[in-house]
Structures are given as C-alpha cells and as structure tokens.
C-alpha cells in the first residue's frame, strides 16, 4: 500500500485555479486573431449558414418541418458543444504534461476546464440562437422552456464531462484515441438528426435506434421546447415515456464511469505521460 497525505488546494483555491485555467484557455485560443472572442460566435454561425444553404435552400430537406432552420441551428449549437468539449478534454491531460509532471494540482480540473471553456462557447451561441428564436414565429416556447432546456443542457454537460474524463485518461495510454474519436464523431454527426429531420426516416425501428442515442434525445427534446412541439421524441416513437430514462441513465452512467476511470489512473499520469 502506498499513500500520500497532503493538505493542498482547498476547494476555494481550486475554484480560482479553474477560473485561471479557463481564462488562459480563452486567451490562448484567440490571442493572435483580430476578431478574438467574436469567433466563438461566428464559428457556429458559419457552420449553420453552410448547412442551411445546402440542406434547407438547395436540398429542401426540412420543407415540411416547422421552424426547420431554427431547429438546425439549435442542433448545430448543441452538437458543437459535445464535439468541442469531448475533443478538447481528450487531449487536455496529455497537452498539460508539462504541468502534471512538475506540480501537484488537482488533475480533474484540467478536463473540467476544457469542458467549461466549451460550455461558455455554447452559452454564447445559445444567446445568438435566442435572438433568432425571438425573431421567429410559430414557436414552441413557454414557461416550461425555462426549466426543461437548462435540465437538458445539464444532461448534455454531464455526459460530455463523463466522456471527457474517460477520454482524457485513456488518451494517456492510447495515443490513437484522438483519431479514433475523430472518426466516431463524424459518424455520430450523421447518426443524429441534426441536419435532417427525424421524421424523414421512414423506418420506425431506425427511428427508435437513433433516439436511443442520448444526444438525439437531448437535441429532439430541446427542439420540442423551443422550435417545434410536435417533433419526434421518445414518448411518441416508443409509445411510452419510460424509455426516456434510458438516455438519461446513459448520461449519468458515462459520468460515473468517466470519473471512476479518471481517478483510478490520474495518480500515475505524471509517469505515464
């Protein structure tokens, strides 16, 4: 048995360290660009614009769907957060190798900082989405939006954090992971009804499979309280709301497993890096 007993970094200090790490993350990301922070809003906007032109204007994919453009924007924003948070967390431990080898900081702060940075980006994008939303008509917003949407975002953050923890620790052992995840991410992007409406899938079995993906469930639920209240969700497709628990359990389980795996390996990061 081995142990180290220390009193270091009480919670208050951890908070200021986390804030400083996030601040650094943002400063470094935009330090050389002329537009700076504006890019964190511009990037999802441009992605949205491209997708909108191709799929809404050219291919007329969402012609039958209510508020297709807004749904598309919301899908892109939520998906971008998941993609950004997981990829940034994945490399976070390895790229902080210099720090980890030299100083004993609470290591879980590193993927949390990466996820938080992505989270702040998402909030900025959501503000843009909110502006567009208020300009639109035929919406699905109500008082319930105010508590359902934050809960859905919380579910998304919990899941992203779980993936982030697991990937960050696993990447230390397996350096192919970032390539593998890149491929999976691409596949996932098309496996989630972001650009196409789920109603376009005619086979109900495939609809069910797609909806079992927590990301699909989150995005569809989020749309249902903002842009289109009749959009396909788990209760309609499965005929029972109980199935809704499966993606939620999955999200929580991913955090539990992620944290468990990370804390098991974090003690040895300094030597494995």
């Amino acid at each position: 048995m081995s142990s180290i007993k220390h009193e270091r970094f009480p919670l208050k200090k951890q908070k200021s360290l986390l804030l400083e790490m996030i601040r650094t993350d943002f400063k470094l990301r935009y330090q050389a660009s002329a537009l700076g922070y504006i890019w964190s809003i511009l990037k999802p906007l441009f992605t949205f614009a491209i997708l909108y032109i191709i799929f809404a204007l050219v291919l007329k994919l969402g012609a039958r769907e209510q508020n297709y453009a807004l749904s598309l924007l919301l899908g892109v924003v939520l998906w971008s957060f998941f993609a950004e948070a997981t990829s940034a967390s994945l490399v976070s431990i390895v790229s902080s190798g210099n720090l980890i080898r030299k100083i004993d900081i609470p290591r879980y702060l590193i993927p949390i900082a990466s996820t938080t940075a992505a989270f702040i980006n998402m909030l900025l994008s959501l503000v843009v989405f909110g502006v567009f939303l208020l300009l639109g008509s035929n919406l699905a917003i109500g008082w319930h939006t105010l508590w359902v949407l934050p809960l859905l975002i919380l579910e998304l953050v919990v899941m992203s954090l779980g993936f982030g923890f697991f990937f960050a620790a696993f990447y230390v052992k397996l350096r192919d992971l970032n390539y593998i995840w890149e491929v999976i991410r691409q596949a996932l992007f098309y496996a989630i009804p972001i650009i196409y409406p789920l109603s376009r899938i005619n086979d109900i079995e495939i609809q069910k499979i797609l909806l079992m993906n927590p990301l699909t469930q989150i995005i569809q639920d989020a749309r249902s309280v903002t842009t289109y209240d009749k959009i396909e969700r788990i209760p309609q497709v499965f005929g029972s709301g109980l199935y809704e628990l499966i993606p939620i359990i999955f999200a929580i389980l991913s955090l539990v497993i992620g944290v468990w795996y990370f804390s098991r390996h974090s003690k040895y990061f300094a030597e494995d890096l």
Binding site: M1, S2, S3, I4, K5, H6, E7, R8, F9, K12, K13, S16, L17, L19, E20, M21, R23, T24, K27, L28, Q31, A32, N98, L99, I100, R101, K102, I103, D104, I105, V172, K173, L174, R175, D176, I180, K267, Y268, A270, E271, D272
Partner: protein, 407 residues
C-alpha cells in the same frame, strides 16, 4: 505523528515501467497482443525512510539518476509511490521548477496570474502582490509583452519573484540555484537567509555543495536509489564529493594500467615501476586522513645500470597544480644503481593537503647537474584522496596558523 515533524517518508519505493516496453498505440495492441507485455521495472527509489523536522533546512543531494528528483516528486505529490507512505504536516508548495505553467504566448502579466493560481492564489491575492512581484523582478516595462519575447534571465526573474510569494509551511526547491546570473543568485541567497530566519521548513535539492553546506542543517545523500546517509550537511556534502573522487580514482587507475601495458611492450625503458603505494599508519590506503602524516612508497626495477641517478616524485591536485615535490638527491645525493636491481624509496610527507583528489607523478634523472637528463617519467603513478579536512575547501593546503589579533 509527532507534531514537530513536517514530512515523514516511510518505506517509500518507486518503480517505473520502462518506456520502450510501454504500449500506447493501437498498432502494438494488434500486432503483438500478448508478447511485449512484460513489465521491465526500473527501481528509482528503494525503501527510503526519513523525517524532516519543522523549521529545518534539509538538503537532498545525489548524482543525476540517483533518484533524488523522483523522491522530491513523490514528496510533492506528483508521483504516487509504488510502496510506502508520505505524510506532510502543513501546507506545502512544490516549486519543483521555477515558472511551472508559464506560457510563452501569454503576456508577463497573464503569466503572473496563471503561475500564482498554480501556487494556490486567488486573483484578488495576486492583485495585491502584483506590484511587489513586478518590482522584485524589475520588469515593470515588460509586463504587457509576451513571455516569448523575454530573455531567459528575465523569465527566471519573473518566475522567482512569483514563487517567493508562496506562503506555505514547507517549500520544496529543486536546483533553483543553478540558474541565473550572479545578481540573481544573490537574490536567491538573500531569500534563503530570510526564510531560514522565519523558521520555515525547506527542502532543497542541489548540486551546489557550497549552498547545501551554507543553508542546510541536515542533508540526505541518495545514491543508487537508496539513502546512503543522513546527517550533518557538511559531512554529507563531503561524502557526496568523495563519490566523484572515488570514481575518478577508478578511472585514473584504469588509464594507468592501460598506459603501463603499452609502455612495457615498448622496449628500451631504463626503469620499470613495480609499485607505488600510499600508506598511513603502516597501512596501504587510497583515502588519506587530512593533517596526519602519510608515506609514499616507490618500488623500481632498473632495466640497465643507472649512473648518478635521482628519483623524484611530485604531487599534483586535480587542476594539475604541483603542490609538493621531493627527490633522493636531497637526502643521498646522486646514486648509482646496478642493472636489474630493485630499489625502494619511502617519502614521508607531513600532510598539509586540503580535501580532494591528488596524483603522484614520478621521474628518474640520470647525471649530475648540469649534465642531467630525464630518462624516465610517468604522470599519475598513483592517485589518492584526502578526506576529513575541516578547513576552507578552496584553500589548496593548510597548516597550523597561529592567529593573533591586536586592535
């Protein structure tokens, strides 16, 4: 745990798995899933135990690769020991290295805040000490420039200025003295003197024996992953230096054997050296106690008849400065030695040499002055070290000096 103990290290071992045996890509998983999975272990620390008392200035010394940095990293919590436990009583700031987390793309100001956060300061606390840091580093004009535009000296100054703000009970310092110009080193020295006065616990890892002797109360010598000795810092520092001297002796010895074989195979030598011994108190030694008389015993074989010979030795220190010399002419005058005769000469030397490594060099001259001719010469006929001298290590020699002061 006793309340006056700051750090307790108990039975700590640390093993590393050698990197080339590590499998961290998918290809190696597929290509050889079972082989190559042996754990080749490297023992960086082996059952290390010691205690550092509160308020103590404790030195850790050892050669590169001896395990001292691993030990420090275990104490800092960077490495998890494979076995054993480390208990730290009080808050601990490890600046294993100065300027940890410094980012070259950030400005000096941003780096102060980042580095401060790593040392456990909130932004408000850094705000308060900011001016003090900048003044100490003397970098007021450069704070908005990116760190990559700083000279390395400026970076170190900035890092040190932040680091000394750390207010913790225990400080771990690794090689901070090795960097910076002499003005900076003076600042380090002043800082050490000040924290020593404040009775903080400091653990210093250094190659600089003068610093260890000057600041540390006790020191620990680590070699080959185990503790060799813990004790008074000046004793430990001497032990550490002797490790190198012994190694150098081995090397010199090897070189001599090699050279003698070469010389022997070349014919026409007038003299063959049978042996050169250093003795003290009648025993053959390699390490000579300082300030006590010792003897050098030379045994020669004449390969031909030597006329009017004079056999001399001199003793040089590591810098090849000749400190002593003696020859037979002073005692005996020129002597004649018949062919194939063994000659033994004993030089008794009253020992004024300071600590260090010395070589004995030998020469044989034939013929009376002014017609003398060197017929044999050997550099480094035998080496020895002097230990136990308590005089100033920079003095080449010492003798009893009667000091009288009149004011």
């Amino acid at each position: 745990m006793d309340n006056d103990v700051a750090i307790k290290v108990k039975g700590v071992s640390k093993h590393f798995i050698l990197p080339h045996k590590k499998r961290n890509s998918l290809k190696s998983f597929f290509l050889n899933p079972f082989s190559n999975y042996r754990n080749e272990k490297q023992h960086a620390l082996d059952n290390v135990s010691f205690e550092v008392k509160k308020g103590e200035f404790f030195g850790i010394i050892g050669r590169n690769g001896s395990g001292k940095s691993t030990l420090l990293k275990c104490m800092a919590g960077v490495y998890m020991p494979t076995e054993g436990s480390i208990t730290v009583n009080g808050s601990l700031v490890p600046f294993i290295e100065l300027g940890v987390g410094f980012d070259p793309e950030l400005s000096g100001r941003d780096n102060i805040y980042l580095n401060g956060a790593l040392l456990g300061f909130s932004r408000k606390e850094v705000d308060k000490m900011y001016q003090e840091i900048v003044d100490f580093a003397e970098l007021e004009k450069f704070m908005d420039q990116k760190l990559k535009n700083y000279s390395s000296g400026m970076q170190v100054r900035l890092a040190f200025s932040v680091a000394i703000q750390a207010k913790s009970d225990i400080l771990l310092l690794d090689e901070v003295l090795a960097v910076g110009d002499s003005a900076f080193q003076q600042k380090c020295t002043d800082y050490f003197t000040s924290i020593k006065k404040k009775k903080k616990t400091i653990i210093l890892v250094s190659h600089n024996m003068q610093a260890v002797e000057r600041f540390c109360d006790r020191a620990l010598l680590i070699d080959n992953s185990t503790i060799q000795k813990i004790g008074d810092s000046s004793k430990i520092a001497e032990m550490y230096e002797n490790i190198f001297l012994r190694e150098k002796m081995e090397k010199l010895n090897g070189e001599r054997q090699q050279k003698r074989r070469e010389v022997l195979s070349a014919s026409g030598q007038a003299v063959e050296i049978k042996s050169v011994k250093v003795t003290q108190n009648g025993k053959k030694v390699k390490e000579v106690n300082a300030q006590k008389e010792f003897e050098v015993e030379v045994l020669l074989l004449s390969k031909r008849g030597l006329k009017e010979a004079n056999i001399g030795i001199n003793i040089k220190n590591q810098d090849r400065i000749m400190l002593l010399s003696a020859d037979t002419i002073a005692e005996l005058g020129n002597i004649d030695i018949p062919k194939n005769k063994k000659v033994k000469i004993i030089y008794k030397i009253s020992n004024i040499l300071a600590n260090g490594l010395y070589t004995i060099n030998l020469g044989v001259v034939e013929g009376a002055i002014p017609n003398d001719e060197v017929i044999f010469r050997e550099e480094n006929s035998q080496e020895f070290i002097i230990t136990g001298s308590e005089s100033n290590p920079r003095a080449l020699a010492h003798t009893n000096i009667d000091v009288r002061v009149q004011v």
